[in-house]
Symmetry: C2
Subunit: 564 residues, 2 copies
């Protein structure tokens, strides 16, 4: 069957109007299209999408599976009909863009319902092709009951299985945000959930001690987490029955593959659109590709990391919307709006625990060549006397030489999105840690401590940078337990309930009197709940001539105790 015979030309309503074609109709595509039309109401804008839905809430899918979001319609921000009515943009759902003819400036599109081919001429073309879940090439990946979670259709099918009681045991492969959110939501539906992660800990973008804090929490909530474990195959006949890893076999009626996504770049690559080092489409700060009149936005396009100034790829809805607005202004009114870069700011809710991150992790900062200093500081999210306050732990990462803030992670049951957004804003303006310390943030007991968690963390880090105090990270301490003299500076009661293996107990108030119980020559680590008592003991021991002393960063709560 020759394509040509079926090709129809899409003319639109006005042959003379500027013609804009957008490939992709989720966040970035619809945002770009709508903004162009608002800037230039005479333009004819069409959206082409393979999907049955447009403008849906991709980030809401795990919550639909869990029933937190009850109705399918809540996921779909706009139907194509409503979208047309409000914006005047024609949407072609179940239409696949199969080829771009860059010389002729048109796109060949296949109607997936009729198999008919159509030609869409363009003056400007916007690639908003998104990203697709990567499914590793393992045996059994096509069995029934194996899903990714990317589209509304995925979520509908999974929810249906769960609603029908067809799922008793589920395995989630991959410990990133979507995998963890789905694990939580399945668990809340009464399903036994195991999660398998290839690397050392869940939440791969986070540093180990923060990720382990979240991991222990997830385990306590009842998710079985297996890290450093590789899925080899999925077994079953027709329907999946179990997951085989390099260490065990796990029964499963449902398997969620969630090991990451890859940008959809094929249609772009074929015509010579430049692909960046991250594997996504390279764009400049105006969202232009290397080919004139072709733009790329959203999950298919590459970004610049504002801290390193280097290419990075963060497929996120928040960034997609910003790229869409910039492209829309530039195309719709020949503006020169820019998006200089992003920080990869993210947040996730895991049961009652929240974890957020912005900028570089300690690991990434070192990889990028920075000499770093870090602080890991527990604090409350609200005044300690106001009911309902919760603990959060802030990790700050700064450049030791310039004191510039490079990144942060905040984890805990308390509010984490506020401090991470504050720090993300500060990093955007090249803040130093001393700047963070002096921020004038909103304080009232129901909202914050008088010294907010960010300010406290910055103060601790300043103390480290100026040599007032030395710290040791919880992972480093755990790895060197046998070599160190560890002093638990809390009261005896707390000590008796539980402490770091090998620690002796000298409450900070008694440290002057009892310092002779310690070996002055030995490398000593002071620990307490939050770090404050250890800091007070540190000052006293310094005064008494102790030289090789450190305090445990993050206090007892950040220490990765073994689960029983």
């Amino acid at each position: 069957m020759s394509k040509k015979r079926f090709i129809k030309l899409y003319r639109g309503e006005n042959r003379m109007a500027e013609k804009i074609v957008v490939i992709g109709g989720v966040a970035a595509g619809t945002k770009t299209a709508a903004k162009i039309k608002r800037e230039n109401s005479k333009a004819e804008v069409v959206i082409i999408t393979k999907d049955a839905h447009i403008s849906y809430a991709g980030c809401g899918l795990p919550y639909y599976i869990g029933g937190v979001i009850e109705e399918e319609r809540e996921l779909v921000v706009k139907t194509p009909e409503d979208f047309k009515l409000v914006t005047g943009i024609d949407v072609f759902t179940k239409h696949e863009a199969v080829k771009i003819n860059k010389e002729e400036k048109n796109v060949e599109v296949k109607d997936l319902t009729t198999e008919e081919m159509k030609i869409f001429p363009y003056d400007k073309l916007i690639l908003a092709t998104g990203a697709t879940p990567f499914v590793p090439p393992i045996e059994g990946k096509n069995l029934s009951g194996v899903f990714s979670v990317r589209t509304v259709s995925d979520a509908l099918k999974i929810r249906e299985m769960v609603d029908n009681g067809a799922v008793k045991k589920a395995v989630v492969v991959g410990g990133g945000f979507i995998g963890l959110e789905v694990a939580e939501n399945l668990h809340e539906r009464g399903i036994g959930v195991a999660l398998v992660e290839l690397i050392d800990h869940i939440l791969p973008p986070f540093d180990e001690e923060v990720a382990l804090y979240a991991q222990n929490y997830m385990c306590e909530e009842g998710i079985n987490i297996y890290t450093r474990e590789k899925v080899l195959s999925l077994v079953g006949d027709e329907k999946v029955k179990k997951v085989v890893t390099d260490k065990r076999e796990i029964e499963a009626d449902l398997v969620i593959m969630s090991v990451g996504v890859r940008p959809n770049i094929n249609i772009a690559k074929e015509i010579g659109v430049e692909i960046g080092v991250t594997g996504a489409i390279a764009v400049n700060e105006h969202m232009e590709t290397n080919i004139k009149d072709i733009y790329a936005v959203g999950d298919c396009a590459e970004h610049v990391n504002l801290v390193t100034g280097k290419p990075a790829w963060y497929p996120m809805g928040s960034t997609a919307n910003k790229m869409g607005r910039v492209a829309g202004i530039n195309i719709g009114s020949e503006g020169k709006d820019t998006l200089k870069g992003v920080l990869g700011t993210t947040v996730v809710k895991l049961f009652k625990l929240n974890a957020a991150k912005t900028g570089l992790s300690e690991r990434d900062a070192k990889k990028a060549g920075f000499e770093v200093e870090t602080a890991l500081v527990p604090a409350n999210d609200k005044a300690h006397y106001y009911p309902g306050y919760r603990e959060i732990i802030t990790k700050l990462i700064v450049d030791k030489n310039t004191h510039r803030v490079l990144g942060a992670q905040v984890v805990g049951e308390g509010v984490v999105d506020k401090p991470i957004d504050i720090i993300a804003t500060a990093i955007t303006f090249d803040a130093k840690v001393e700047d963070l310390e002096k921020l004038d943030l909103a304080y009232a007991p129901p909202f914050s401590m008088a010294m907010s968690s960010t300010i406290v963390a910055a103060s601790v880090l300043t103390n480290k940078l100026t040599g007032r105090v030395k710290g040791i990270g919880p992972i480093a301490l755990k790895n060197r337990l046998s070599e160190l003299q560890i002093v638990d500076t809390r009261d005896e009661g707390s000590f008796m309930i539980g402490t770091i293996p090998g620690a002796i107990n000298i409450p900070s108030g008694e440290i002057y009197m009892r310092a002779d119980e310690l070996d002055k020559e030995k490398e000593t680590v002071l620990v307490c709940k939050l770090g404050k008592n250890a800091y007070l003991a540190y000052i006293k021991l310094k005064e008494l001539g102790f030289e090789d002393i450190k305090i445990l960063d993050g206090g007892m709560n950040a220490y990765p105790f073994e689960r029983e």
Copy 2:
């Protein structure tokens, strides 16, 4: 009785140690003292305070009255004994500093229990004398049942009256934060509460439309609010019975005077410490006064407003702590730490409504000589499909010429402290509104919209600055109702339920077809719920040649409808 005969010299434990005297023992005083001692453990630090308590949670007092904070001990961060044990600092409670001898470098102190006089020599003196509620000189102000809310003792007495059932009706005089918080907490205890405010609206630092939003909310919750009303006298014999204003008499068993605080500067003024234009003690960025070795911190000291660069006075616990740390570092280790200024960032919870502010209000910005543009933009605090999302309204104030962000106010049932802290951080770094639009903030449905409220507000303001759209404020609209052609662009159902007086209804989808119902020559205002439909209609009417059109800033929810 001659003072001299009773004077004792306080020598401390070590005559050779550097002697530090701190006058005042709440937030700034204790923070400074503790930081000095940590920096220089050999220093002898004493705190002198009139109060019976130190280091108490002043901002928690309204919540103690309401029983949200149950126990008195939760209000007191540290007892003097605990404080001494942990820090090594001697605290003299119920001791009043009566005179500073700057030449001899000592302070004359009266023991309020024994009436004995004591002399405290100092090498460095820190004034942390705080502020005192201003009570206007009206008749009856000394009646029983009339209180300010500043100290733990005040709160204890009020709580006791409430607990004993002695209060049926209360009047709060003053619509600032403390007054409103006390009003809420009394109301929650089942007491009938009226609030009297001298100016046009409660929340004096806020702009009128934002303040009125909060005011209507408080009224709906059952607080009787009387604005533009002056309290003339309090009436009763021994116990207060009613409040007489210039418009009415209000029965009351309890009167809370909360019309503001004044810095305690007398002891400083007497020896020639410079008082700033705000009436508080002038300090440089190191917290030094004009007199060598005398510092001032906390509510008695003046600040610099980071936006105007001019003196300002914001008596707040968060600022007090920062000033204390800076002074502590500079005194304790001869550092040169600085606090360049503050933004007056504040937040208050009023029942389920939250209101926050940073930087300049529109009114203050104009007063400071800025030509301003503003946006008033409703948005949700979380994804609209995630259960529990709430509306907030963001007001942004920017310099029309430079686009620099000057201030912001956020009000609503949703999260307001996060956006205000983001904007406060941005203002600290001289952000332009275009910078706000591009911030990479944390997004996940339980925490934010994909386009966060701050980004949406910045986009609307950018649209106004670039001339894409013109707006009219809700107060201005209300004042000009009869002159304007008002078009409600919502659907007919919403229009029927209620609209702006005089508005006609043309849903934005029908505006092309029905534009001829409008008078093209007349100044036209488009209104809708949030502003989006009005914006779409605006674009279409512009296309049709309408010139004098505006949209209602903040949408219907920000319009100050009359209460029935």
